[in-house]
């Protein structure tokens, strides 16, 4: 006997929701999914009427669903938002160029303005060139750090008030686990926040409207809605350590599907003991971006690339920041340590 939708009790169910265990038909699923994102936006007061919101678009499933849902909800509930797409071109041949084509098609489909900022124009380096220098280890550090700043720069160019990103529940839960495993208490505290409340020049507030949406449901939503998205893994191998956290989370989900929400619930309810030292947020003395050190991470990484010492930004070399700022040459032993490892 076919399983009937637990909401309308008429149509056949097409999926079982991992979050609650209910079976839903296609229409009820769409309704529920969209309503949930709406509830998240309303409850967390993510936007104000009249704001310009940049949707970070990579062409992948999460950002495609985000762009689709944001446009839909904006019209349905009259948020009064001006939406735009912002994309970052990391310069990865065979991956990003293809996915950007998807974003461009999305732009047509959703009739939203699109801005693409590229690593090449911002930093003078494409990811291809970076990987050529640093190899396939730690390359994700460069990409991640640069992308964060690139999005902000793009947002400023477009003069948007907020950026929303396609981070889903799985991503947030994974980050909670990662930060516990790495002992990063400052990030552990921040990572479950649905929006950043950062005030500072060059930093645009961000939010995650899909924070409570399961990755599985996002994929199904994109699939059933026949959305045009790009589904290839990055050709430069994914971060190995994060992979452990990811595998663990997926295993948890397979044992108890509500685990992902449980981990987020845990993360939201953690509180840090008084007196634990926290990094103080300042600004980078070179580019003015937020940084807890004298130099921001992307400036250090960039300096390393330009000096031919890619490991400068990997690990902790705060002592060298002074030297970099005053343009002093590094000693030979310091240089040797920071050269890329030859295989």
């Amino acid at each position: 006997m076919p399983v009937l939708c637990s909401s309308c009790s008429e149509k056949r169910a097409v999926l079982k929701r991992p979050k609650t265990g209910h079976s839903l038909c296609k229409e009820c699923f769409f309704g529920a999914f969209e309503e949930e994102v709406h509830q998240t936006i309303v409850a967390a007061k993510l936007f104000k009427p009249g704001e310009t919101v940049g949707v970070a678009a990579s062409g992948g499933k999460d950002s495609t669903v985000l762009a689709h849902v944001m446009k839909l909800l904006n019209e349905r509930h009259g948020y009064g938002l001006r939406l735009m797409l912002i994309s970052v071109d990391e310069g990865i041949t065979g991956y990003r160029d293809d996915s950007l084509e998807t974003v461009k098609r999305n732009q047509q489909q959703y009739e939203l303005p699109l801005k693409i900022v590229s690593y090449e124009e911002l930093y003078g380096w494409t990811m291809d060139a970076i990987v050529r220098q640093v190899g396939l280890k730690n390359n994700c550090t460069f990409c991640g750090v640069f992308r964060r700043q690139a999005l902000d720069r793009g947002a400023i160019m477009l003069k948007v008030d907020k950026i929303c990103t396609g981070h889903n529940a799985d991503d947030v839960a994974e980050t909670v686990l990662m930060n516990v495993l790495r002992g990063d208490i400052a990030r552990l505290r921040r990572c479950t926040a649905i929006s950043t409340a950062s005030e500072g020049d060059g930093v645009v507030p961000r939010c995650k409207p899909l924070k409570y949406a399961y990755e599985k449901e996002i994929v199904l939503y994109a699939y059933f809605k026949k959305l045009d998205y790009f589904s290839t893994e990055c050709i430069y191998s994914p971060n190995a350590y994060r992979g452990h956290a990811r595998t663990f989370l997926k295993d948890l989900e397979s044992i108890r599907p509500s685990s992902i929400m449980d981990v987020i619930h845990s993360g939201e309810n953690l509180s840090v003991r008084e007196g634990v030292k926290m990094p103080v947020q300042g600004t980078c003395s070179r580019c003015g971006y937020i940084s807890s050190q004298a130099l921001c991470k992307s400036c250090v990484l960039l300096e390393g690339l330009n000096r031919g010492l890619p490991k400068l930004g990997i690990g902790k070399h705060h002592r060298l920041h002074e030297k970099i700022l005053s343009q002093q040459p590094l000693t030979e032993s310091e240089q040797r340590k920071l050269k890329s490892v030859d295989f």
């Binding site: 949930e36 409850a43 516990v180």
Partner: protein, 473 residues
Amino acid sequence: MLMRESGCLGQECWSREVLAGWYVPRTELGYPRCRTSSYTLYLPSSLITICMLFNLVLQSILFLPPQGVSQKAHKKLRFVPGIVYIDEGGAVGQCKEIRQKTTSELCEMFRSTGFPFYILPLEQVLDLPGSVVVAPSSLSDQPTSAYKAAVDLFLQSGGGTDVITQEQEGVSLPDVQDSQTQLLQQLMDSAKTLTAKQDLLSTLRQHLLVHTARTKGYSKLMLGDSCTRLAVKLLTSISLGRGAQLAEDTGFSDCRYGDVVAVRPMREYSAKEIAYYNRMFKVPSVVIPSLDTKTPDKASIQRLTESFVTKLQADFPSTVSTIYRTGEKLQTACRSSSAEDTDRCLLCMCSLDTVVEEASALQATLISEQLSQTKAPLITGQNSVEPEPSAAVGRCCSAEGPCEGTQVAAGCCSSPKEHEAAELRSLLCYSCQRTVRDMVSGRAAAVTRMKLRSQREKIIKNSSTTLISKLGF
């Protein structure tokens, strides 16, 4: 012996180091310096129960205090320990013979320590009064001067040795009735998943331990958690949604029971160190199977986390210590440190974490549930969903319009059973709600009844007796 990065140690030096390490928490806590509120944790001559868990490596906890208490050790531990062992054979499904064999082995072992000991079958938890879960909320506020007075008293009484000899006699192996074992088995079987089973077992164990400590007059419970175990526990807690209770679950001292404080003095040692210590100094041990013994990795969340941490530790040797140190930096996230009794979870006794902001994982799940159910009112228009005041209770009413506030009124919920379940849920923390959800519905009559009994006490306290008369208990 190569134990740490710091270098090699000879057997004797190492032994000294381990023992010295044991004093760290003691000094940390023996003086007013380290206090959780305004009382000193270890008062000399206070009675301390050491609970034996099933893990063999943790048994050295037993053999450190004797060395500490013995006159020869150059620093003397100033408390009188007693040993509690809880025989979980009934829950794990061991036959009577094996249980008896294990307990008699343990009996021998405990006798050799010279401390008073209690061997209790887990079945006793079924007969516990509901008051176990109602913590006396006021902690004994001992002024710091009491510490000095207690030291004097302790020294005068000759180190408390006579207490030991006195209590030695009163120990016997209590008989377990088959019907009780069956009842316990039923209770365990009502949990559909191993995750829930393990959670339930640890709750039951905890209740019995606290009850024992209380009735035998012990003020502290010493648990044998090593730092490896705590790292696993921490990650498990996060995975089970116990983020708010993390500090209590894994911290050095755990004050959730009010009058009985649980401490974890072994938490500075890794499981490996303890294993080496036991082997080197021939600490006798007994291996006792647990619920997840010989199960695959994915059998339960607890089991999965354990294998995840140990595997990661093999590749990245700092894993355990990093996780453990992350936990150090956390504290209990209760809104007020002196949470009222009613704000505590009925099962785990931690303060409730279910009163949350509008934008939270719990609310999001509740909305999802509401939207996925039959006749769910699809709300359109902005701001029309009201935050449900008491998450679980309010939910069942929402479908049929407002009923008497958040109070569950007859006729609103489809059946009294559901009604009861909602009522129970409102008294549990997030994670325990998940555990209860994994139990057979109509379920665990025993647990429900046991809990409801104490719930009734709670409610009487709150003088909202109308609810009980409606419930008809």
